[in-house]
Subunit: 134 residues, 2 copies
DNA sequence: ATTTCAACACATATACTCATCCTGTGAGTG
DNA sequence: CACTCACAGGATGAGTATATGTGTTGAAAT
């Protein structure tokens, strides 16, 4: 449904959002999230290049969520790691399928697609923080 | 979302459902569906072992959909190739997430999950046939 | 019986995701 | 400067999904 890597990324961002302003070391994040440390720094690197996260090397260094990223929709995060979602075509490619000649799955798939799309675009990184919960 | 193999399986069954009672050679099915011939026979073999399809070797041989399989829900087909769906847990495993302490994605995910589940269980192999369309 | 056709089974190849290892590099400390 | 800390990044490996290749088996035609 969503790749392991994509879920990792959201876990990471959620954890960073829980500690605003703090610089967390990769090792700490790995321990807190349960993501393999070596792999995690790679993901954080991509998040940094994309501008969602900032990092600091050396003593006292670590990673922190950039405040500008708080409003980023999780769709953008998933895209970063899985490429454009491309849910345009019909799921099963059973045959040519459009509005006029829908395949047997068309209506059903439309619902799945739209609810997924809604989720991806309604939730932002800010919402991933634990503190958001009442 | 759904594996390539799973989509292949549905394409195959849809094609067979389009030709009831006929015995189609693997090569023909491959050509009609665009699925790699060698890979296709593997999938057809699994479908045969599961009882959805019957086969005949030798001259005049080929594959045919078993009439008993017409009512099979596509959930069963997908399970055959991808194992039990197991959409139980929360998508992103952000943290412990249940009804009382839902994660930020919980409500959204519930919708995705249920519409997917509905599709898988509402559509049967019979429905995959082109002729079903008005 | 021999030939031919097509499924069947097993082995191998390829691609991608996920994960690990190792070395380099910049930043701070004493 | 010498040293340590922690990110940066390339190379490598394990595991799985996807795809191909080769020979074997069964059934019909001749």
């Amino acid at each position: 449904m969503v790749s392991q890597t994509g879920r990792y990324a959201l876990r990471i961002l959620g954890h960073l959002a829980d500690h605003p302003g703090e610089r967390l070391r990769g090792h700490e994040i790995a321990q807190a999230t349960g993501i393999p440390a070596n792999y995690l720094t790679k993901l954080l690197n991509q998040l940094r290049k994309r501008g969602f996260v900032e990092s600091q090397k050396g003593w006292g260094g670590g990673f922190a969520l950039r405040s500008e990223a708080l409003g980023v929709r999780i769709a953008e995060v998933i895209e970063l790691f899985e490429g454009p979602a491309d849910h345009a075509g019909c799921v099963f490619e059973l045959r040519e399928c459009d509005e006029h000649k829908p395949c047997p799955l068309h209506g059903h798939w439309e619902k799945v697609r739209s609810s997924l799309h809604a989720m991806m675009n309604a939730v932002s990184i800010r919402d991933l923080a634990t503190s958001t919960r009442p």
